[in-house]
């Protein structure tokens, strides 16, 4: 039985697991953006926060993913459902690129532009939303892109704690020593990662200030 035959025969399950996978990656990326961008802004405007915030995000990144899933298991509300746990872990991993690129993007805005804006009487709020963020958006987006691509790969491991997603195929294939089954998980995951990379890369170029 070749791989495409297998994918076709099990297309319902492939689709379901792909959607599960997308859900895990989508929600965790969304959370990472909602938390990471404000943190990046804080780091860029108040350098005191720079080291603790980026340092913490950095350390999180170094924890092996399986171990992190394991650590989080006993946590009361979280441990109840595997997908909550997986989403939290993926969010934590996605934070670093988002925070770092937000910080870099804002710090990279031409100081003359910021000075002119301030001198003209823009409030901090106006300066942030009308000048700094629009000019940093493509750098921020490239951080999100990295986060998404990494998350798609990491999310396969979430199946180890029963959170579902394309990792199911991979782990089942590993257990049964069935390469086809492994590929049935790995290939759709790779396609997801590449499409996200391409789509966000395109958006990034569109939004890059000239």
């Amino acid at each position: 039985m070749n791989l495409f035959h297998f994918l076709w025969q099990n297309h319902e399950q492939v689709l379901e697991l792909t959607l599960e996978h997308l859900w895990l990656v989508g929600i965790s990326t969304l959370l990472a953006v909602l938390i990471g961008i404000p943190l990046g802004i804080v780091c860029a405007h108040w350098p005191v926060w720079n080291k603790p915030v980026l340092g913490t995000a950095n350390i999180i990144q170094t924890i092996p993913s399986l171990a992190l899933f394991g650590f989080l298991l006993p946590v009361p509300w979280l441990g109840d459902r595997a997908d909550r746990l997986a989403i939290l872990a993926l969010t934590l991993y996605a934070l670093l690129p988002v925070i770092r690129n937000t910080y870099t993007g804002i710090r990279g805005v031409d100081p003359a532009v910021v000075e002119a804006g301030r001198g003209m009487g823009l409030t901090d709020h106006q300066l942030l939303f009308q000048v700094e963020l629009p000019l940093a958006v493509s750098v921020i987006l490239s951080g999100v892109r990295v986060a998404v691509v990494v998350s798609v790969g990491l999310a396969t491991i979430a199946a180890a704690i029963g959170a579902g997603g394309l990792g199911e195929f991979i782990f089942r294939g590993l257990a049964m020593v069935n390469n086809q089954l492994i590929l049935a998980g790995a290939i759709p995951a790779a396609v997801l990662a590449l499409s996200a990379d391409f789509g966000l890369g395109w958006l990034e170029k569109r939004l890059r200030p000239r």
């Binding site: 031409d110 003359a112 532009v113 910021v114 000075e115 002119a116 804006g117 301030r118 001198g119 003209m120 009487g121 823009l122 409030t123 106006q126 009308q130 000048v131 629009p134 000019l135 200030p209 000239r210």
Partner: protein, 260 residues
């Protein structure tokens, strides 16, 4: 509109000092008045404190001692945003917003002040003409303009909400000699027409003498002297004389080289 307190100076420095957080003094014992409608030039070398002085007016910096008064009121007390919007600000690097076209750049302060779109559009057209730019440039982005055009947009943007005061920090410093010369002349004509109160920072004596109604000479964080351009050329102050010598010397040696 600004309250008309025509009697007093528009900008006044009273015993102003400015020091960095690490204690380094950039400016001390500054006493200076800027009268309505005049162009006061702050002349000095880099590090003399002229840009610091300028930034104290629109509170980009806050004095560590003394008081800066704008329109008769201590600038430290009022709303800083209102203060800045009532003062035009032009810097050497222009600082146009690269993601906005010329029209949006010029119309930014009117827009956040809530002017109706039609009025902003008319104002932008008027300003473009005032600074010698063609109307079709309104839809261009900053990177599509030449250096001279960019600085013209910078001046138009500073004038957008019709501020009574204009602060200019070496606005023509990064331009080539011919463009600079042209913009200086146009600035003079514009200033005759508009009668703004201008504080102009430069290190170029020629520019100072050409544009200033008075020249304030600064050195090492102190105000040395304030003179009219005519008096400046005759001044016996050693520093002022050194500037004049450097200017004249430059011309002489150039002429001599041409002759020999």
């Amino acid at each position: 509109m600004e309250p008309d307190l025509a009697a007093g100076p528009v900008i006044e420095f009273r015993d102003v000092a400015y020091a960095l957080p690490n204690g380094q003094r950039l400016l001390s014992e500054l006493n200076l008045q800027v009268q309505r409608g005049e162009t006061l030039v702050l002349l000095g070398r880099s590090g003399s404190g002229k840009t610091t002085t300028l930034k104290l007016v629109n509170r980009l910096l806050t004095p560590s001692g003394g008081e800066v008064r704008v329109n008769g009121a201590p600038s430290a007390e009022g709303d800083v945003i209102r203060l800045r919007r009532s003062i035009g600000y032009v810097i050497q690097d222009v600082g146009l917003f690269p993601h906005y076209d010329v029209e949006r750049n010029i119309g930014l302060v009117p827009r956040i002040e809530g002017w109706p779109a039609e009025r902003i559009h008319r104002r932008v057209e008027e300003l473009l003409q005032m600074v010698g730019l063609e109307a079709h440039l309104a839809s261009r982005y900053p990177h599509q303009l030449s250096g001279g055009q960019r600085q013209r947009v910078g001046v138009a943007r500073a004038l957008a909400a019709d501020p009574a005061i204009l602060l200019m920090d070496e606005p023509f410093g990064a331009l080539d000699a011919i463009t600079r010369d042209q913009l200086q002349r146009e600035f003079l004509l514009l200033q005759q027409r508009l009668g703004k109160t201008v504080v102009f920072v430069t290190h170029d004596l020629r520019e100072a003498l050409l544009l200033g109604s008075r020249v304030a000479l600064m050195e090492a964080g102190k105000l040395v002297t304030v003179l009219s351009p005519k008096d400046f050329l005759r001044s016996t102050d050693p520093l002022a004389a050194a500037y004049v010598r450097a200017l004249g010397g430059g011309l002489d040696s150039a002429t001599n080289r041409g002759a020999s």
